[in-house]
């Protein structure tokens, strides 16, 4: 059995969540990447997406994050999310509504529509739906 990596997830106005993990799957700016024990030090920005953690017992935990930072060190991964939500806590109905709204706004953008904001909202909603459905990527 390989060694485990310590994962800490933080977000403003939320208490820390911690794991001893075999593997972490992060939605990085340049694509999804996987982290295991002994990873090279890495500092990256995150995009809205699903954070998938496989814990010591091999159980999978899904989190929807809305972007942030990840500091990876050989023995520790620190996820500083702008916000995060466990897949099991996601209100799927609301997430779907949010996706619907964002899609509509993007389909026929009005002059005052903030396209960037709508896109981000869409990504966030998609991440929450995925996390709820236990889909990692």
């Amino acid at each position: 059995m390989s060694q485990t990596i310590r994962v800490e997830i933080c977000a403003p106005e939320k208490l820390k969540t911690e794991f001893e993990a075999q593997e972490v799957l992060c939605p990085g700016e340049d694509g999804i990447f996987s982290v295991r024990y002994g990873h090279t030090p890495l500092l990256t920005t995150l995009v809205p997406g699903v954070l998938l953690i496989q814990d010591k017992a091999g159980e999978e935990h899904f989190f929807a994050t809305s972007g942030g930072f990840a500091e990876i060190e050989p023995e520790k991964a620190l996820i500083l999310a702008d916000s995060y939500e466990a897949g099991t806590d996601v209100d799927e109905e609301r997430a779907k509504q949010a996706r619907e709204r964002a899609e509509q706004r993007l389909r026929k953008p009005e002059p005052e529509t903030d396209v960037q904001r709508a896109e981000l909202a869409l990504y966030r909603a998609a991440a929450r739906i995925k996390a709820a459905g236990r889909v990692g990527y």
Binding site: E8, C10, A11, P12, E13, K14, L15, K16, G28, E29, D30, T40, P41, L42, L43, T44, T45, F69, E71, L78, L80
Partner: protein, 300 residues
């Protein structure tokens, strides 16, 4: 007679004051509970982020980001965080005293520019000959995160332009419901405040022992160093300001609760004293009347 009715009236008035202070204490206690939960939740993220920024400031010493620039003793920017409401004991006066002390002792002779948060701070600092740059009131009326960004963004801009060389914040740190302490914290530039890298020359050779991180390897940055730094540093300063606003809010409610508790107790003492006086006065009146009746009867 000192007027039975006068004493009665005073008792009633003190009682109603007591009712108000007791209600305020209760309101402060319930607000404190919420503010305390908020600060406890806001701290880990802010703390980890500051750690991270300190880390990269130490590791990547060749970085030239405008927010990591070391100042050379120019203008100091200070953010003073006070409350919008009064009746919270020494809460606001303490911050102002802390500010004055910092200006006189720590920043002697340096040009100082102040940003005031909170109505009470605005009032208290109005009469002092200070260079006030901007004031913010009612920050807890809307989203605090936005307010924090609003307060700090211009200050960061000034720092980037080299207008200010250091930025500090004076505020009440929340220790417990009954204890707050005024803190002068450095916001910019981002470097550990008791900077171990001050001893720059020949540092590698003589202190292997306290070179704390076992491997000082610079990170691999994704997408690239500039982007990560820019986002992280800007985010960090907003988060720290956000945390400070929460610290101050929790402290304010704590201070008000303590102050109102003391006021309620004092009112109780005043009522006791007045009641005693009232009873004595009444007894005197009765005695006097009796004497009059008795002596009147004897005269017959």
């Amino acid at each position: 007679m000192a007027g039975l009715r006068d004493i009665k009236r005073r008792i009633v008035s003190v009682k109603s004051t007591q009712k108000i202070t007791r209600a305020m204490k209760m309101v402060a206690a319930s607000k404190l509970r919420r503010a305390q939960a908020a600060i406890v939740q806001a701290r880990p993220y802010a703390f980890e982020m500051r750690q991270l920024v300190n880390n990269i400031a130490l590791r990547a010493d060749d970085v030239t980001h405008p927010l990591l620039r070391k100042g050379d003793g120019g203008k100091v920017g200070i953010v003073v965080v006070t409350s919008d409401r009064g009746l919270c004991g020494g809460f606001n006066a303490n911050v102002v005293n802390g500010l004055v002390k910092a200006i006189n002792e720590r920043f002697t002779g340096r040009e100082v520019e102040i940003t005031v948060v909170g109505r009470k701070g605005v009032d208290l600092l109005k009469r002092r000959a200070l260079n006030v740059r901007a004031t913010f009131v009612g920050i807890h009326d809307g989203p605090v995160m936005r307010a924090a960004a609003h307060i700090i963004d211009d200050i960061v801009e000034d720092f980037k332009l080299g207008d200010t060389d250091e930025v500090y914040c004076v505020y009440n740190e929340f220790k417990s419901a009954v204890q707050q302490s005024v803190i002068v914290e450095r916001l910019l530039p981002f470097a550990p405040e008791n900077d171990p890298t001050e001893k720059q020359t020949g540092a590698e050779a003589d202190n292997d022992a306290d070179a704390a991180p076992p491997l000082i390897v610079d990170y691999w940055y994704e997408p690239n160093q500039e982007t990560v730094f820019e986002r992280l540093l800007v985010r960090n300063i907003r988060i720290q300001m956000h945390r400070i606003l929460f610290e101050s809010a929790a402290s304010e409610h704590g201070a008000r609760m303590t102050a109102m508790d003391a006021a309620t107790r004092n009112a109780g003492e005043v009522i006791d004293r007045l009641t005693l006086k009232y009873n004595r006065a009444r007894q005197d009146a009765i005695t006097k009347e009796l004497i009059e009746v008795v002596s009147g009867a004897e005269a017959l």
